[in-house]
Symmetry: D2
Subunit: 256 residues, 4 copies
């Protein structure tokens, strides 16, 4: 078992980026692979808004990278909501193109789309599902833990001055998405993306959440719109605030 | 000698913040101070845009904290340019109020304004001087290393599609400052702040930069507008890309 | 919630030390405490051999520091087994004297023995119980998670060339304890210390472990020798390899 | 430019190891290398005793990795003095075999001996030269910054109770080397290794140090014994306590 903290320059986000990476120890990294031709599958993992990649240190990610012989790569994204910000960095492009480029140049990871998986928690789950829906050729499967999927409703509350349950404001959401009136039906509107998805491949999305999750209805709505999504409810408290149940379940589903 | 990396939640910036802190070792932290009443001076140090607090690890900050018996506190600010962003976190409020609150609650630092100093490099220098000019009662002295002080000119170039020398774009500068047409004369226009400064206290600002610094003219202009500023030119290359000459000189000036 | 990584020089261990600290966020650190006279209780937490303080990042320590309004302080100790090594640093002295000195000079922690608690996992549990037994005036309570308490048996196996279940060898154990023949009955022999303990204060030690823990018998033996110890068995797997059940239970017991 | 902090398990040293790695940014890592067959030269860099790999964060290592298109890899070694300890981990084996194995499995580094360089500062320089002398087929060149090369004299002083200039004691040196009487002429006696070196390849070792370095005489003695060593004296203070002059000079020499 090993973990890496990488600090590097990103051209697309115009700055220093921090990425935490969990990888198998020596015994899983095939030591007899003298030509070093073996490339490992990747799970891209997106933290919640208000958190950072430090969030994943508390999860079972390192142990699971060992168990499955994979790289789990956790970039930071501040408040970008996995989006090419109207006023700010093009985080979506960063995640789609630049980061995989940096990683494949440095680590023995596969670049084959069938070895790419993406997941996230909270607003990171919104980002993970959006990436998988917009770029179906890039990722084989995607999962959401406690997903905050209905960004239109969040934005609407912000515009109306109602209390949000995520660390954003009207201004910070406008910085990401631009004007609220243009949000519905846009390429950042996850529920619209789900509705429009024609492929409806089987068993492509997993939505996993605790029973009393406050955003459960939106997850159910997503699952109703997107036939390839499966909902998995876990008992309240079973995640111990750190994906102790959900992340193992998600990776079991991915690598079944 | 010691260094701390602190990750904490910030209410004002709506998220996880990273702060690096350099502090003296045991012999400078008065060990016979059994009541722990001694409080240490603080130098707040702002990194350049496109960098992070990691930038200061390469500088002599840790050694200087030991030499002077002070805390050097280096928050991260991403692309906020030390400003209450139009579309984004209120970084100026964070730096003025919330961060000092977090720090004073955790570390034995003085809260007396006469023990507060602020400095920065590049765009961080812009931030440091802006804080000192806008909140003269909060900081005793301020310094700029290779200061990028004429943000109006940077913004103008961005609006005109000319090449910038900082990792920003028209959109990212609008996210910080709002519309370009409102910038001149605003409270984010450092040169206007300098011009208006009525106090003109003696020896309050130090601008230190290498001989051929590309932004030297703007530093000279600031020094011409602000009588309490002193310009110190150091030989090209003497900073070794890591404040080897400038930071010792700045702290020598501060604590003379 | 916040966490700190501190790198500092230690005179006693002759080198650079790394300490991870979990502390409450702003709302638990009394903000109206303008004189900063409030001092917080401390739980000293010792990692397992073969691990480092990184181990605690995966535990609920940060969340629990918030819940109870305490500082949880996790020093690194490499292979020192919380002992003044025969051939190596005097880690016991470091933990007893130097580290608390460094910490109290830098952080708002109580130095009152009634606010000091110590715990550990695996061999770190051996260390925690040893400290509490040898220095009863320094700590109010101590706990062991999956404690590896019978160091004599470990050492005996090493001397006999049998397989150990901890990352040590005969030579590395001799480096810590000196000759095996002098171990039994020494001040590093935890079971002897327990047997000799005359105070037998009520409810002073908690031994918490999963049902099938391979070292369970030694924990039961310790509990039989030390009347002030209480054994708490938790279901197999309930700790999720990261103290998800044991650490909350231990802190609940401490602060009941 | 990028930097990595890796925490991994090491079988040989029986524990968690920390390694800091400096590597070029995207433009130096050939992006058109679609087969990822390019492998980069490595400089192994050993910190001083009493320090950790954090020491190199303050050096120009990151900038130089960019300049030369190389990986600079800085393992931690605590007090092992780059030696298979009598009482402790086999650090020499770790550095010679296990660490290169971990690295080559994870990063695009060359394993060709002609792409391997090793250097160190203080006692790390002792380690670097020892590795290069004992394993001439493993490294093409080696360098010492402010080398502490006469370990016999250090050990003799420790045995005699005289003041050392390194953070060790008689016991800690015995833990590393065993009995003092067996040191002279052993494979840990660097001056003997230099004297015996039959190859005397041209321009293989660089000893670089400030003019008034307290260990200068031992460096001169090494250079007299080892014909392939070159001494380079730099002005006092020019290293700014952080290899600002020596490390660039050493890499210029390596890659000339």
């Amino acid at each position: 078992m090993a973990q890496i903290e990488m600090n590097a320059l990103s051209v697309i986000t115009c700055g220093s980026i921090t990425v935490r990476i969990f990888l198998p120890g020596m015994d899983k990294l095939a030591l007899d692979d003298s030509g070093h031709t073996k490339k490992y599958p990747v799970v891209w993992l997106l933290h919640d808004d208000g958190e950072s990649s430090v969030q994943w240190l508390a999860s079972p990610a390192e142990r699971l990278s060992e168990k499955y012989g994979i790289f789990i790569i956790c970039p930071e994204q501040h408040h970008a909501l996995c989006t090419n910000m109207k006023y700010g960095p093009k985080y979506e492009d960063f995640l789609k193109d630049e980061l995989p480029g940096i990683i494949k140049n440095n680590l023995p990871v596969s670049t084959d789309p069938k070895d790419q998986y993406i997941g996230g928690i909270g607003t990171g789950a919104y980002g993970a599902l959006k990436m998988a829906l917009k770029y179906p050729g890039h990722y084989k499967r995607a999962f959401a833990v406690n997903g905050i999927l209905n960004m239109e409703e969040i934005f609407r509350r912000a515009v109306n001055g109602e209390e949000l349950k995520i660390p954003h404001t009207k201004a910070s959401l406008e910085a990401v998405f631009g004007d609220f009136n243009n949000f519905h039906g846009s390429e950042n509107d996850l529920l619209t993306l789900a509705e429009r998805d024609a492929s409806q491949k089987k068993d492509r999305y997993l939505l996993i959440l605790e029973e009393s999750d406050p955003f459960r209805a939106d997850n159910e709505r997503f699952a109703a719109l997107e036939k390839s999504a499966r909902l998995q409810i876990i008992p309240d408290g079973s995640d111990c605030f750190s994906c102790q149940t959900s992340l193992p379940a998600a990776l079991k589903w991915i690598f079944k």
